[in-house]
């Protein structure tokens, strides 16, 4: 029983990070209806940036988020403006292929710059843990979860309360109507992609102290983030938040009760079931 709660707890913490990734993807999809296959690679970029800042400037990974997030925002905005903007009207297959290409460029640039060696970002607290009710809880993951909460709350406030945030939501709900109301939908798309990238990068920064860092690390996140987004309902920030946590817990329990090598199988199997029987997600309304 103890192991069960332990697994749920670690799953919960990891799920927080997944949520952040999922929220980024769902915003991109909500505003542009683009399925961003490069999303996991944006997480990877965040990880590498954090590692570089740590290795060369000794910046604590959690603190360096204030640098990483804006950097990733700019990267995302540039990618959107230069490439994705041009295919917004094209067939969705072409959009997918484009983002796959971008993902390949990102991961292989990392490969060319840093080789495929596994990098480790070890801080003083990387392997520290708290003890909670007799369960061991990774310290960096707790901090990551806390930061995720703050970021998610901040994002939610931004989307709900600010003019720009509401404009983004309007664009996501009905692009044409938003345009007719005078919203610059192109700019909203750029913003959305930038925000999505920033969130992905932030997630990368948060897990950098506890994950191996290598160019292909993003791929595991890409498919998983789709599962989260579909689970929570495409375009729903709340849905992605809950979906991420749920997937984190499911994965953790699968590793415990089945096998570590099968945990992702369970998630992808769940994905197939979801696509077949409840494509609008547990919370969302379908918008395809």
């Amino acid at each position: 029983m103890q192991m069960f709660f332990q697994a749920v707890l670690s799953g919960l913490l990891m799920g927080g990070v997944y949520s952040l990734i999922g929220i980024g993807l769902t915003i991109i999809f909500g505003v542009m209806q683009v399925i961003n296959f490069a999303h996991g690679d944006l997480v990877m970029v965040g990880m590498y940036v954090t590692w570089l800042l740590f290795s060369y400037f000794h910046l604590d990974p959690f603190l360096s988020i204030v640098l990483t997030a804006p950097l990733l925002f700019v990267l995302g905005a540039v990618i959107q403006r230069v490439t994705i903007q041009r295919v917004l009207g094209a067939a969705s297959e072409n959009q997918i292929l484009l983002t796959i290409g971008i993902g390949l460029l990102l991961s292989n640039t990392a490969m060319l710059l840093f080789t495929s060696d596994y990098q480790l970002l070890t801080t003083s607290y990387s392997s520290s843990s708290f003890s909670v009710f007799g369960m061991s809880v990774s310290q960096p993951l707790v901090v990551a979860f806390a930061i995720t909460g703050v970021v998610a709350a901040g994002l939610y406030a931004f989307l709900m309360k600010t003019d720009t945030g509401q404009a983004i939501r309007a664009t996501a709900q009905d692009r044409e109507a938003a345009q007719l109301m005078g919203i610059n939908v192109s700019r909203m798309s750029v913003l959305a992609f930038g925000i999505g990238a920033a969130l992905a990068g932030t997630a990368g920064a948060l897990i950098a102290p506890t994950y191996y860092i290598f160019p292909q690390v993003g791929h595991a996140f890409t498919l998983k983030s789709f599962v989260i987004v579909v689970l929570g309902g495409m375009g729903s920030v709340v849905g992605a938040t809950l979906g991420g946590i749920l997937i984190g817990i499911v994965e953790s329990l699968a590793a415990l009760y089945l096998a570590s090598g099968l945990k992702e199988c369970v998630v992808f199997g769940l994905f197939l079931l979801l696509l077949l029987f409840r494509p609008s997600g547990l919370l969302g309304r379908a918008r395809t």
Binding site: T83, Q95, L98, L223, F226, G261
Partner: protein, 360 residues
């Protein structure tokens, strides 16, 4: 089939009539060349590249039937490639079944699996289908990695010596690359022929209708599920054959190499770069991508071919810094093609030859 006045727009991929006769003549010439190649070329590396090229053509033509004609962009074809490879190898290594039989059993297995996959995933449209296809391939890859007792997991299989191939009274030893070369060439031509036949048949028309507008196709009597599954089964069968052949040729397989998403991306890329939905596309794509990726992966190969000296700075540059650049180039090509020429190389060729289209 005459005149310059009629701007006939046949099914995409067949091209304007003058282009078609040129292409046919060229094809015959190229085939003659290819068949005779092993007799006047001595460097085995060239034959090696030839085999890889033909395999790429097989996989590309196979994928095209589903992705180009029917418009269902599967990114999970690695599943069938890998199933073909593992079935062939495992039946040989564990059950001593001749690989020349095993490869066909692999085709059978992959076809059956694909039929099941189609039954489940074709309810999904567009990007959802793409995501589902990736999931299926990933699940199979992870299972192959996990069940080590069955598949040897990440260790992979190293093939022991292959028996000779009985062709009637002939016994063909498989030590050299030549028999592989001819076999691959023949199947590449066969796959291209099948694609051509499908294109100019009722099946081809129906698949293209499905691609253009599924609901409209449904309303004029097309059984969507049946035809999409048909395309997938044919596609998976050929892909699995390529997988089995690859295993016998390269003699080592592991889950990452044959089930990995790279395989699926590569197949897709071949078709997109060459020209999706066209007969020439996979061939053009393979012609560009295979030598390129081979050079980047193995620059010493060009040295073997005598094209570069062994201490050339280019070779050293590629070896030291660009060892995985083939993947980078894939990404770059994908981005450039989608942004500037979504119809690929063949699209560029067609536009050059037959600029007047669509005016009635």
């Amino acid at each position: 089939m005459s005149s310059a006045v009629r701007t006939r727009v046949p099914l995409p991929g067949v091209g304007a009539s003058s282009l078609r006769s040129w292409a046919a003549a060229l094809l015959v010439l190229v085939c003659a060349l290819l068949f005779s190649l092993p007799f006047w070329v001595t460097k085995p590396y060239l034959l090696h590249m030839g085999v890889l090229l033909f395999l790429a053509v097989i996989q590309g033509q196979a994928w095209n039937i589903l992705g180009g004609y029917a418009g269902q962009h599967s990114l999970g074809h690695a599943a069938y490639f890998g199933l073909g490879a593992y079935t062939t190898v495992m039946l040989f290594e564990r059950a001593q079944i001749s690989p020349f039989t095993g490869i066909w059993l692999g085709v059978l297995l992959a076809s059956l699996v694909s039929w099941g996959v189609g039954a489940i995933t074709f309810r999904l449209r567009g990007p959802y289908f793409v995501l589902a296809s990736i999931s299926v391939a990933e699940i199979i890859r992870l299972l192959a990695l996990h069940f080590k007792d069955f598949t040897r997991g990440a260790e992979g299989f190293l093939l022991s010596a292959l028996p000779a191939f009985q062709l009637g009274p002939l016994e063909i030893e498989l030590f050299s690359k030549r028999p592989f070369y001819f076999a691959a060439l023949l199947v590449a031509l066969w796959t291209t022929l099948v694609s051509w036949l499908v294109q100019r048949s009722k099946i081809g028309y129906y698949l293209q209708a499905v691609r253009e507008d599924q609901d409209a196709a449904h309303s004029i009597g097309i059984n969507l599920q049946a035809y999409k599954c048909l395309a997938l089964v044919i596609s998976a069968g050929f892909t699995a054959w390529a997988g089995g052949f690859y295993a016998l040729f390269v003699k080592f397989i592991d889950p990452e190499t044959v089930f990995g998403i790279d395989v699926s991306v590569q197949i897709l890329l071949t078709c997109i770069v060459g020209g999706i939905g066209t007969l020439a596309g996979p061939a053009l794509g393979a012609l560009l991508l295979v030598p390129l990726s081979e050079f980047l992966r193995n620059p010493k190969g060009l040295v073997q071919l005598g094209l570069l000296s062994s201490d050339s700075s280019l070779v050293r540059l590629v070896e030291e810094r660009l060892s995985h650049a083939h993947s980078f180039v894939y990404g770059l090509l994908l981005v450039v093609i989608i942004l500037f020429s979504p119809e690929g190389l063949w699209g560029l060729v067609k536009r050059w030859f037959a600029p007047a289209r669509g005016e009635g």
